[in-house]
């Protein structure tokens, strides 16, 4: 007596395959919808954006007249910001990850920190703006400077970098640690010579993706009072500044229709930069990641 009823299985076969087909169609529709929306968005930005996109647009300051308005201050401002954000966030992020993965004992305090890092990654960016405003701008008296904005954004993307770096470090197999320790290497020698070389592609990829998030951030910088209209270039990190997304935000808020086209050009430049950064990240991941 077989415990499997072949006929019952036969009868249910049709229902099961139908269910599978139905869900497949549903999932396909989900992706069609997302791609459609994205497509419309990109086509709109491109058709509108190219009307203003030329050399003058990249090399002129903002203006009251749409035909003269340029993106220069915003582009340079964003680059200045990266000069602060990249080193600060990568140094703090990788340092934190190394400490948590290699040195910290597995106790309640460590788990508490770990949990908070994960939570921090989900905190809305305006909250970081508020933090930047009270701490960097007012308390530390940095004013509405590139430094204050850069440090704020560094904190914003810090959790992303920490988590990415931790994952990269964790992907180094245990036998590599064993081999190094068995040679009499210290913890730090092992981290520097074995762990980091293997983890660096993952760390870089995560960092670049985090930086591209920082480049697109508007809210926290508005909170700390980044300028929306400047007609000069910052000379050092204590100067006021504007950045690409704020400039775009400003243009779209103008009543004149012309300015919306200018905004589209700005979006194109920003998108172009983001695509380049993401491509670099993907290239590094595919080219340099080690297989064991």
């Amino acid at each position: 007596m077989s415990s499997i009823d072949k006929q019952l299985i036969q009868r249910q076969m049709g229902k099961r395959t139908f269910q599978n087909k139905l869900l497949k169609a549903l999932f396909f529709m989900c992706i069609v919808f997302s791609i459609l929306v994205l497509g419309v968005l990109i086509i709109r930005v491109i058709t509108q954006g190219f009307t203003h996109l030329d050399w003058d647009f990249l090399t002129s300051f903002a203006s009251r007249f749409p035909e003269e308005a340029g993106f220069k201050a915003a582009i340079v401002g964003s680059l200045w910001l990266m000069v602060i954000v990249a080193p600060v966030s990568i140094f703090l992020g990788v340092g934190t990850a190394i400490y948590l993965e290699e040195y910290a004992k597995d106790n309640r305090f460590t788990r508490f920190i770990q949990m908070n890092i994960s939570n921090l990654a989900g905190v809305p960016s305006v909250v970081f703006g508020l933090l930047g405003l009270t701490f960097f701008v007012r308390l530390m008296e940095m004013g509405r400077s590139i430094m204050a904005g850069g440090l704020t954004l560094s904190l914003l993307i810090l959790p992303i970098i920490v988590v990415a770096a931790q994952e990269a470090i964790r992907s180094v197999p245990n036998d590599q640690y064993e081999a190094s320790f068995a040679m009499g290497a210290s913890k730090w020698q092992t981290v520097r010579r074995i762990v980091l070389p293997s983890a660096i592609p993952g760390i870089l990829t995560g960092s670049i993706l985090a930086l591209s998030r920082a480049i697109g951030e508007t809210a926290p910088l508005l909170m700390i009072g980044a300028l929306t209209f400047i007609a000069y270039l910052p000379e050092n990190v204590w100067d006021g500044f504007t950045v690409m997304p704020i400039q775009i935000f400003n243009w779209t808020g103008r009543p004149q229709e012309e300015f919306h086209l200018v905004a589209a050009s700005g979006i194109l430049v920003l998108l172009f930069l983001l695509i380049i950064m993401n491509s670099i990240a993907i290239y590094i991941r595919n080219k340099f990641s080690k297989r064991y």
Partner: protein, 261 residues
Amino acid sequence: MAQAQQTAVKHDAIYSVNQFNLWYGQDHALKDVTFDIPQNQVTAIIGPSGCGKSTFIKSLNRMVEMVPVVKMAGSINYKNKNIFDPKYQVEELRTNVGMVFQKPNPFPKSIYENVVYGPKIHGIKDKQTLDSIVEKSLKSAALWDEVKDRLHENAFGLSGGQQQRLCIARSLAIEPDVILMDEPTSALDPISTLKIEELVQSLKEEYSIVIVTHNMQQAARISDKTAFFLNGEVIEYDDTNQLFSNPSDQRTEDYITGRFG
């Protein structure tokens, strides 16, 4: 009998293990282990899977401390010093005691960089010195002829057996006194296994070797002394010939005649 006494005199103990106990949490993995490991000899550790062979050999260079829940009691003396003494520098111990693992674990670097890893760690920078260390270590590990023309290629391009000999060369590069090997041939094909066995024989001129193996023929072929472990205890420790031809414990006999394990 007279000859046995002679060897006992000639080969001083390099390790002296005394009432050594080890727990993983509640799990009592080594129980009152007590025996001496002789200098310039091959000592084999045999026993069924899970009896504590790896735990024991990893205690000899304190690698076992990488497991956070480990607790220990008793002593292991290396050259008459207790290695678990808080003042004993673990890095120094591991400079004198090299280790080869079950699965070949070269670094994802060139063959050359693999061998000079240890010397560089210990501060040797001179290019000529490093070059000569590489040649000497690879020759001792019987790998030089096969790789001398591609020293700067990635070690992952080598076969499994070659990788394992590279790992041996890597551990020889810091000129240790002892080499610990945890089932070094279990992941290898028969020909590579044979090469490593020959290598072990030639290395004992200069080094004291402790080798874990679950292959009794291998233990019989290459070792001078054998310790039989069972459930964390040393059941029998003797000259290899003696232990295999005339075991004094019934459980040893059962194991070597293949009745369990």
